[in-house]
């Protein structure tokens, strides 16, 4: 089982994902430079958080033209697992691998804080270890995290069960106070139609050790691992 973490110019949470996978989950992980034309033989690709190209244009708008993004699209096409965190989520929406867009936070400020998100789809490789409606505590740290999709797209996403995470209060209730950035319907994370590409604004890789305040982010990585382990078992039968 091999993880790959893409490093764009300006990525800065690459280290955090790398550390979590290698030191906390004890799985194999390598960095993939943005200029690579292939993602190699890997099972999961993580697009980490950061400020690719400074986010001076629209967040993720330049990174999506990186050579490696063609390879990521091919990988996703073939069913490979792709996880975009924060700026990685923004890159995936810019690249059209995920629906919708991430706009400026409604209060126009960068916001770094612990939030609660509810798992609204637990049938994905990224969430299968969570119960439906499970509330996870994880940090957010972004300025452009307000999720938007036009009404018809949103309906389509709902019909396909593509809304994976919503900001809620501690009890799992969707409230305006629980929404840190003005996201439409408190959407914190979505998936593509096939369910093998997921993006979310909160940082599960920052919630993987008790000393950092929460271990709830592990459930996403553990889901991925048990999904891949199951597949390996099937493959080996």
């Amino acid at each position: 089982m091999k993880f790959g973490v893409i490093v764009f110019p300006g990525s800065n949470c690459d280290l955090d994902s790398y550390h979590l996978v290698r030191d906390v989950l004890n799985k194999e992980v390598e960095y993939i430079h943005y200029s690579e034309k292939s993602v190699g033989r890997r099972d999961v690709i993580i697009l980490p958080g950061g400020f690719t190209y400074g986010d001076y244009l629209r967040s993720g708008a330049i990174a999506r033209f990186s050579p490696v993004m063609n390879a990521v699209a091919e990988f996703a096409d073939k069913g490979g697992l792709v996880l975009g965190i924060c700026n990685g989520f923004q890159v995936l929406t810019e690249a059209g691998l995920l629906p919708g867009a991430l706009c400026r936070n409604h209060h126009l400020q960068f916001r770094c804080e612990q939030v609660f998100v509810r798992v609204d789809n637990n049938s994905l490789p990224f969430t299968l270890s969570a119960s439906l409606g499970k509330v996870l505590e994880m940090p957010v740290a972004h300025g452009d995290g307000s999720y938007y999709a036009p009404p018809e797209l949103l309906e389509e996403m709902k019909a396909n069960d593509q809304i994976v995470f919503r900001y809620t209060d501690q009890n799992g209730d969707v409230t305006p106070q629980a929404n840190p950035n003005g996201s439409l319907e408190n959407i914190a994370g979505v998936c593509n139609r096939a369910g093998n590409v997921v993006g979310l604004m909160p940082h599960p890789e920052r919630a993987g050790e008790k000393v950092l305040g929460s271990r709830h982010g592990l459930i996403i990585f553990k889901s991925i691992i048990s999904y891949l382990t199951g597949r390996e078992v099937v493959r080996n039968v």
Binding site: H19, R111, G208
Partner: protein
């Protein structure tokens, strides 16, 4: 314009001009004079502060590199070192708060990785005037946005800071940025241009006209014309900063570079003359090879531009290709602009002609050292004689405490720090809001605690004691988290040192700080002096800010202010002598900045810090919080609020309750202990011969303070929380 007039325009005195001609053995040409003027500015030459700064102890068995390099380096065991420094960016922030603060952060970041260290944390110390004016809010919002904008983008967490508001900072806010890094001790690289024939390489952003004479601007008082100096403020590019940091660290890690120097104040001139003079070499540079952003730049502009995000590397010729490869991976193109020579002269050519040829040591270190006249200001004794105990007693102490909790100086700064990414790199064990921040070191299993502290009001009323208290409080914050203080860096913000009263404040404060460093056994390993913080002739409060770093051998033992369990015993450690002079009570409740400060007993301070660390390391402490602004009552309220639990406290008999509740003094720590450990703790306190008293217990959901049989203060947590937590969102939104 004759040269005589030119040197004055450039901020040099006639005496200094004469000195330059003596050191050069001839008259400087215009380009050379520009180079001298930036390097001999107060900002670069420390000409008014150098003699006083000699008082600081700068060595200890842990110190690898003291002041004089880009940052201080301290051994933290296991073959690793901590690298840290604080620096001011006050004047730029007064004119353009967002970019001023952002480039302050970018500049201090470069100082750290220039040494070969991976930056791991930012801290900052800020001062503003009144938030009730639109301009006050604009400056505050802009500075906070600038700090976050740079730090968040480069991916280094901003983990601690302090902010105070006083009318004296209205036109001249203070923005002091600190950065801490770590590295394998043997990876240390110095800013030396050694090795004749080695290449001088410039990499990073293009050179433009921004920030020309920024250091000269920083070395004079602000005035109505300062607004016109907006072009002297540089513009930050944190994206470039991030690429440059990663690639530079890679070249250092791969041992591809001989010397590294960042471009800060005074730009290329500073980088060339400092690296050459440190190595005792010369440099020949071809200005036509400097990649420019603008056409037709004059040689002096190329030599003094303060364009941000540039680095100077000294590279052996056969390693150039490897260096180019590392930077090329991030689309950065290093430019060879010159080479190291055997002389001690920095020579610059432009379009084939020699346009400057200066003795490196003279430009970088030949500025005169002044011993300015010093005079005790008239206000000093007048204010010290004021007796705050004559103030009428408040009717309701609860109301006073709520008012103090809601004072912007004390109130929760969450509105500020939630705009900073304080978690990136996933090493933040304690972020903003505690006594000190704690960052783990993955490579050694240990952690660094860090804190910034300074109280301008105290230092104004008594510069000597104020200086001592700044060092005492910064290190006490570390001790309260369980960490051993290992070094400090200081940022000394003062008015115009050519005024005797200001120089008196400065020298007194430095003496106090130096004395505290000696007794507390903590070296100063670097820092920065910012003079001329004056608007229309009115100086700021003398504001020394201390950034302290400590080593926490076992991060699991880290202690925080939050009270934990119902029934725990509350202890107050340290001398009981306090004062209302210069206190938050006097400022916020009585509207006065006056009185004299409590005495500082540095031996007692050392004993208190040693003891609290020992108790924490023996696992006997549930929570610990340093007492500072607002005294015991505020420390209790803060400990309750962060633990979301109440406390019941009995005050020692007192003739004047405001003093007992809100009096301020050094060397005091509030801590809580599990009931089963209370006897053991009392025993250890007695053995250590440290003053202490058991003052109450952790209990319920209110803070209740009694005096004798009377309850004199009772506040529900929710009431305190509302006062403490909503101040900034109410003012700013």
């Amino acid at each position: 314009m004759s040269d005589q007039d030119l040197h004055r325009t450039l901020g040099l005195t006639d005496h200094e001009y004469k000195l330059i001609t003596e050191q050069m053995g001839r008259e400087p040409n215009e380009v050379e004079l520009n180079m001298y003027s930036v390097m001999w500015s107060e900002h670069c030459s420390y000409k008014h502060s150098r003699s006083a700064l000699k008082l600081f102890p700068t060595t200890s068995p842990r110190v690898i590199q003291g002041p004089g390099e880009n940052a201080g380096v301290v051994d933290i065991g296991d073959g690793w070192a901590a690298v840290f420094k604080i620096e001011s960016h006050n004047h730029p922030s007064a004119i353009e708060p967002h970019q001023g603060a952002a480039t302050g952060v970018g500049g201090i970041l470069r100082d750290i990785y220039t040494m070969g260290a991976q930056p791991v944390a930012f801290l900052n110390s800020l001062r503003f005037g009144n938030l009730e004016t639109a301009r006050g809010r604009y400056l505050f919002d802009g500075v906070v946005g600038g700090i976050g904008g740079y730090g968040n983008c480069v991916g280094i967490p901003t983990v601690a800071g302090e902010i105070y508001f006083e009318p004296c900072y209205e036109g001249n806010p203070l923005v002091n940025a600190m950065c801490v890094g770590i590295m394998p001790a043997d990876q240390l690289v110095l800013g030396k241009a050694s090795g004749e024939g080695n290449l001088v390489v410039l990499v990073g952003a293009l050179t433009g006209r921004d920030g020309i004479h920024g250091v000269t601007f920083a070395s004079e008082e602000l005035s109505e014309e300062s607004e016109e100096k907006r072009p002297a403020v540089q513009v930050g590019d944190p994206f470039m900063g991030k690429l440059l940091m990663d690639a530079t660290l890679e070249t250092i890690g791969k041992k591809l570079v001989t010397g590294v120097q960042d471009f800060g104040g005074a730009g290329l001139t500073c980088a060339l003359t400092e690296t050459a003079s440190r190595a005792g070499t010369g440099i020949e540079v071809d200005l036509d090879q400097v990649p420019l952003r603008e056409e037709d730049m004059h040689p002096f502009e190329i030599l003094t531009s303060e364009s941000q995000e540039r680095m100077l590397l000294i590279v052996e010729p056969d390693k150039l290709k490897a260096v180019e490869e590392v930077f090329g991976r991030w689309d950065l193109k290093p430019a060879v602009i010159g080479k190291v020579t055997s002389g001690e002269t920095v020579t610059a050519r432009y379009q084939g002609e020699v346009v400057a040829s200066v003795p490196a040591a003279s430009v970088a270190g030949g500025a005169p050292v002044y011993n300015p006249e010093s005079r005790e200001p008239a206000y000093f004794r007048e204010l010290a004689n004021y007796d705050p105990l004559n103030m009428p007693l408040p009717e309701d102490y609860g109301e006073v405490l709520l008012k103090l909790l809601a004072a912007p100086d004390i109130a929760s700064k969450e509105w500020v720090w939630r705009r900073y990414d304080y978690m990136v790199r996933t090493c933040t064990l304690q972020g903003p809001g505690g006594d000190s921040a704690v960052i783990r070191i993955r490579e050694t299993g240990k952690a660094l605690a860090m804190s910034v502290d300074g109280n301008g009001r105290h230092t104004y009323l008594d510069p000597y004691r104020g200086g001592m208290m700044a060092v005492a409080e910064a290190t006490r914050n570390l001790s309260c988290s369980g960490a051993d203080p290992i070094g400090i860096t200081d940022c000394l913000n003062f008015g115009n040192p050519e005024k005797p009263e200001i120089y008196w404040q400065f020298s007194q404060a430095v003496e106090g700080m130096a004395e505290a460093c000696r007794v507390l056994n903590v070296p100063v390993v670097g820092g920065n002096v910012s003079f001329y913080n004056e608007v229309q002739g009115e100086a700021i409060y003398p504001t020394p800010v201390v950034g302290a770093v400590g080593l926490l051998k076992d991060p699991a033992k880290q202690c925080v202010p939050a009270l934990r369990r119902d029934g725990d015993h509350l202890f107050l450690l340290g001398p009981q002598e306090v004062s209302l002079g210069g206190s938050q009570y006097l400022k916020s409740w009585c509207g006065k900045v006056s009185g004299s400060l409590a005495e500082v007993d540095l031996e007692a301070e050392r004993d208190v810090q040693d003891l609290i660390r020992d108790l924490i390391n023996a696992d006997l402490v549930q929570s610990a919080h340093d007492l500072s602004d607002g005294g015991l009552a505020v420390a209790l309220a803060e400990s309750c609020l962060s633990g979301r639990i109440g406390a019941q406290v009995n005050l020692a008999p007192s003739d004047y309750l405001p003093l007992a509740l809100f009096g301020e003094g050094p060397s005091r720590v509030l801590f809580s202990v599990a009931p089963e450990d209370a006897d053991r703790v009392s025993q250890l306190i007695m053995e250590a011969k440290v003053e202490s008293s058991k003052i109450g217990i952790v209990k319920g959901d209110a803070l209740i303070i009694s005096h004798g049989d009377d309850i004199i203060l009772k506040l529900e947590l929710s009431a305190m929380q509302a006062a403490y937590e909503e101040v900034f969102s109410c003012i700013m939104e």
